[in-house]
Every structure is written in C-alpha cells, then in structure tokens.
Symmetry: C3
Subunit: 138 residues, 3 copies
C-alpha cells in the first residue's frame, strides 16, 4: 500500500522550527500501514526536514549554530544577482536537506523517546509550505 498526503502549513521563516511529529504519527495511523517507510519531504528550497529533541534550549543552540556556519549578513551572490535577500536561507536548507525516511513497525514510527520530526523554515519571510508525507508498506 502507498498513501501520499500533502500537508499545508503557514510558516514564519527565519529559522522557525515546526514540530510535525503528531501529524506524521496521525497520518501514518490513518493510512492503516503496519510495516513500511514513512517519508517526509518539503517542496521548497529554503526549508528542510530534520530530527531533534524539540526542547527550547536546543532550538536556540541550533539557531546559533546556523548563524555561525551560514551567517545571514554575509554577501551572497544569490542576493546580488537576483535582488533577493535569502541567499543564507537557500544555503542553510541545502545543508539540512528536504527529505527524511523513518521505518514503521507494528503501526508505529520507530522514533526514539526524544526524537521529533521537524520542519525548519529558513526563508526571510512568511511562506505557505507544502510537505509531502508518503506511507509505503503493508
């Protein structure tokens, strides 16, 4: 069985972290899949999908790490050439990646106790995001 759904979310950007776990768990249950793979894929080039302990301290630590590794205020050719302001957003999203696959066993995602599936939106403005959730299995 293969069930594909689209989630639509209004995001604020600027590194906002949105916890998708309950939605992914709920949609997986609703699909009736017992064993297989759950794939989460964001369709934008300035957002990524990751797994983390979704705890306020780590949210700040991750934001600080990204600002250190890919600063917002640097010069970006993307901004220069396209009269844009989100070169850092694209670069951060490419580092994180758009796709995550999680095994499902006995109807449950095999997430550990503290693992949460998150969407991280790096764009410089609010966006309407689309996340694809696919359950493939039996």
């Amino acid at each position: 069985m293969i069930v594909t759904r689209r989630l639509r979310l209004e995001t604020q950007g600027d590194g906002q972290i949105i916890d998708l776990t309950d939605t992914v768990v709920g949609e997986t249950a609703r699909s009736g899949m017992r064993h297989g793979l759950a794939t989460v894929f964001v369709t934008g080039t300035t957002a990524g999908v990751a797994v983390m302990e979704h705890e306020p301290g780590l949210v700040l630590d991750w934001a600080a790490a990204m600002e250190r590794l890919v600063p917002r205020a640097m010069a970006y050719e993307h901004n220069e050439r396209n009269n844009d302001d989100n070169g850092h957003s694209h670069t951060r999203a490419m580092l994180l990646g758009p796709s995550l696959t999680v095994p499902v066993e006995g109807g449950a995602l095999t997430l550990g106790r503290w693992q949460r599936i998150v969407l991280v939106d790096y764009d410089s403005r609010p966006r309407a995001r689309e996340v694809v959730l696919q359950c493939m299995g039996e």
Copy 2:
C-alpha cells in the same frame, strides 16, 4: 514494482554541481511507476546528492560556504597518511550525504517548482561516477 538503473557520468570534481533532475524524471516516467519512492544514491565517498534551486548565484554561494566550513587548504590526516590530496573532498561529501528519497505521486516526482536534484562532486580530479536510481512502488 522495483526498477533499479545505473547512471554513468564523467565529472570534473572540485565542487562541480550536475543537475540530475531531467534524468531522474525521465527514468521515473520510463519505469511506469505511478506512486512510490524515487531514490538517488551516488556510489563514491567524495560526492554527494542534494536538492537546491540550481541558479548560478547559489552555485557560487554553496561553493563559498563549503570552502569556509571545510577549507581545501587545511591540513588533513587523510592526505598526510595516504599521500593524497582530497581530505576536504571526503569531509564535504560526508556532510552532504550520498542518498536522497523523493515521493512520487501520479507518475510525477513531488518536487517543488524550484527544486532540482543535483550531484555535487568534491573530488580533486575528474571522475567516472555511478549514480543508482531506484523506483519502488506501483
């Protein structure tokens, strides 16, 4: 249905970004798969697979970010111990990762408007690369 194909590419290395999207879209159509997963996997340890807006400014921005995070000119134990020159290539490729999974729905990859699937080759010399493309679904 499961269809696995090998793509062979001659690459230049040094961070070259090669757009695989048209090939992946074409092979997925050729497989006849309507719903499922397309997996792209590069078989080398000095190249990675990613998703980006494939725009000349961002190509330069990504190169600058990688040079800043994992400089070519640093001392690498890999180079020292193996009389080699691509320690930065291995490190960059490990950061990017070799694998990407994209849901397919109604015969089409669920890529967003600007998302392109790219191979990034970090090696210090031209290479003959092999990319595995697998379509699994129905």
Copy 3:
C-alpha cells in the same frame, strides 16, 4: 516483503564512529531481499548515520571538522537550561541526520568500493544504542 530488525550496540560517545556495514550487509542477506531499499535509522538524538571511507585519517579529519563547526566547549542553552553537558552532541547529530537509505540490487547493497555505513555517536557518555534496519522490497 518487509523485514525490520533492531540492532543494539554499546557505544562510547564523544564522536565514536562504528562501522555497521557488515551487519547491514549480513541482515540484508538474511532477509532474502533481492531488490529494494535498506533503511538504517538510529533512535537517539545525539547520534547520526552516515557514509564514509572508514579510514583512520578521515576519522580524525571528521572529528576535527565537527569540533571546528560545532565546538564542544561553547556555551549551549541546552546545557544551561537542563544542567546538561551535551548541547554540542545534539547539534552535531542534527547536522548529520539519523536516517540513511541504500538501494539493493541482486541481493547486494549498491555501495561503492570504499563506502561504509557508519554510526557516529556524539553523546558525552557511553550509551546503549538502538539502530533500526529495515529491508523493503522483493
């Protein structure tokens, strides 16, 4: 066919790299799967799964890169707010990611000559880790 197994490992943390390739290859063979996907997923938030040439020089180079990008000795809000010491571990693991998918063809993982599947444990203390291995295909 879908076969899901749990591997249990005692790890030392502090960036320890554990080669899972032989286990993944062995379990894939044992599953009897000829074609499909092998997914490797670690259930902790301070460890990641990656692919690398598992060579002593690169092990040191990767450790140096991570210490440079996400230093252990920085101030982390996670540590401050939770009286903990592994803020760097969470941040490094999030950068690496918990999940890897590898196509399988003719009963064999499509890994290249030098590619090894590794678990990288960034926690600040020894841990009992659980890795999920799922074979889905035919």
